[in-house]
Subunit: 417 residues, 2 copies
Amino acid sequence: MAAIMDPIGRAARRAAAQLALTDNDRRNQALCAAAEAIRGQCQDILAANARDMQSGAERGLSRSMLDRLMLDADRVEAMAAGIEAVAGLPDPVGKVIAEWERPNGLRIQRVTVPLGVIGIIYESRPNVTADAAALCLKSGNASILRGGSESFHSSNAIYACLRDGLSKAGIDVDAVQMVPTKDRAAVGYLLSSMNEWIDVVVPRGGKSLIKRVQDDARVPVIGHLEGICHVYLHEAAESAMARDIVLNAKMRRTGICGAAETLLVDRAAAARLLPPVAEALQAAGCEVRGDETARELAEGIREASETDWSTEYLDAVISVRVVDGIDEAIAHIGRYGSGHTESIVTDDDAAAEYFLRNVDSAIVLRNASTQFADGGEFGMGAEIGIATGRVHARGPVGAEQLTSYKYVVRGSGQVRP
Amino acid sequence: MAAIMDPIGRAARRAAAQLALTDNDRRNQALCAAAEAIRGQCQDILAANARDMQSGAERGLSRSMLDRLMLDADRVEAMAAGIEAVAGLPDPVGKVIAEWERPNGLRIQRVTVPLGVIGIIYESRPNVTADAAALCLKSGNASILRGGSESFHSSNAIYACLRDGLSKAGIDVDAVQMVPTKDRAAVGYLLSSMNEWIDVVVPRGGKSLIKRVQDDARVPVIGHLEGICHVYLHEAAESAMARDIVLNAKMRRTGICGAAETLLVDRAAAARLLPPVAEALQAAGCEVRGDETARELAEGIREASETDWSTEYLDAVISVRVVDGIDEAIAHIGRYGSGHTESIVTDDDAAAEYFLRNVDSAIVLRNASTQFADGGEFGMGAEIGIATGRVHARGPVGAEQLTSYKYVVRGSGQVRP
């Protein structure tokens, strides 16, 4: 594996050094040229995707896997537009994020710089190839991409367009590289033996991928765990708002990490709040599983088991638990949650602030759907995912989060006493 | 090892959850009470240190090791005063570091929160026990301390004072814990098997310790590599300033990571700049090793070998290389440096800015000594070290760098379209 991977690492490091010195215009030029290439080579990309779809079908991939894998003209166009949107973001590099002067006259600045070389390990969606590489490039980072074997041909066709864009802008094409083998050993090698060249790895995919990356990595990981997101209906929740938020948080899209998986309802108001919510969910095709009290209060709720509380369904299923007040809700979230996103619905300001302060998740909301957990919805542009770790970046990881910083100190001959 | 370490991890996690909800006053109260306890128990601490010093001498520790290990009344007082200084820092937790409103009315805040549980692995200096625990406590983090076996009794005596302070302030004493065994397997266990409870590990010590931590850790590491720091005398350097800065950067204290190890001098001005610098260094007792040109230009310079360029002497030794201009200087730093701290001495603004931009180190200075690489000198208060990694924190790691953040989003019933 060293024979394949080490040259990739070395080339990435070299390209990163060059890339760190390019300006925003040059990087944007590469991004826009890549978007144009994707539009121009749409037929090639679709043909490559057809090969992946066929072998996926032969290998018996699930319908949802095939849907994630599938490209059509609209999805290709969305990819190109996504790259252009990244180009339109403000320059995340070279920003002075803090500045002060010392009594001895030293002027100190904290200035953002690229992280360096970023390894991206992802699964079946071929568009991640474009999204991730674009965010890395925008933030001045070289990237080493390793996509799922199912999307091998699609990803490589997109990859060719990215290299085309780099080349047109006069940037070292090795600023974006893709692991050229489907061999799974390449992932292990990338995680364990390339820390000389890779500064950080971003895994993007399901639970087992993330777990493997966190177990095997000898490089820093910006982790994205599952999203076991909660909506908590406080006793002072307004009933229609509660229904709308739960319905949206669960059913707008069930397959994203910000989708709600568990509903917590205050006992004091459960008889008022739960029946309309359960009815709306069931009318939308959602299976509701609940504890005993929930099943007594509303029709058609199936019995929830202990494992339901820690399950990320990513499907039209929700678990419901009736709790004795805000502290029990917070304790439930602390015990079963994944630290991703939780929302309280309440008209009580004090209760809301208490929840927002005491719940330890990357994103805590009041009176809003958990499906807002998204870099775009936060106004940060595209994102590579939602980090649930606490180190480096937490919450949506966009171009800004793919930077580090350095200290620039200007003096006039100061020596330390 | 699980029988000893797992309960420590669980207790730390529990204490961290409580600590995250304490306010700054409470944490400061614990810090001040700990400082008072250290003053009050000075005799006990010195007696414990005498035991460590005796077994250190018996085990044949080097003089510099014994000096690092040694405590006297002044050093104990400095420890207490250091804890009080940390208490005096602004509250790093609960700070709104960014705030904006979305077109849909969602109000988004990015608010600092503690990292959680921090493992600190360090070597012989017993004062690290107090410094590190104080910074963790200030920033709302629980800490698990693992000091060097040489300082076992000293560290435990200091540790007792820290617990005393916590107890007086009504904070769970397990907010600071010390690994109760000298068994080296405890370090391995802490690094590899406690990621359920430990959020980040900060190693503080020599090269072999850091390397071991980076190799073995299954948790994020805020890394502190060696400091192979450079001073570069550009051809437009003023001679007296060049001499004073090099002398200070090398000789003020030779054993700290911000001490200069290599001097680079522009060929165009080497005949003017190098002789007075070499003379001043030698007069101060510094051994100078140089390349051929350097040896021709100044008296008494010994021959430098290839390994000199990548050696952190931490001693009164410096290597000197004559370079063909700024790009060769930058390339030398990129090849041999450790990404810690580098300084250019020049009166040429354009050259200075070029160096500051193109050198990829945590700290880059113009016309100032590399020995300013220090959290205190940066005005950040105490520091746990200088991070040379690129992820999470880079440069001095103080209380502010020991925080993460979360997003707090306040809505009025928004659902995602």
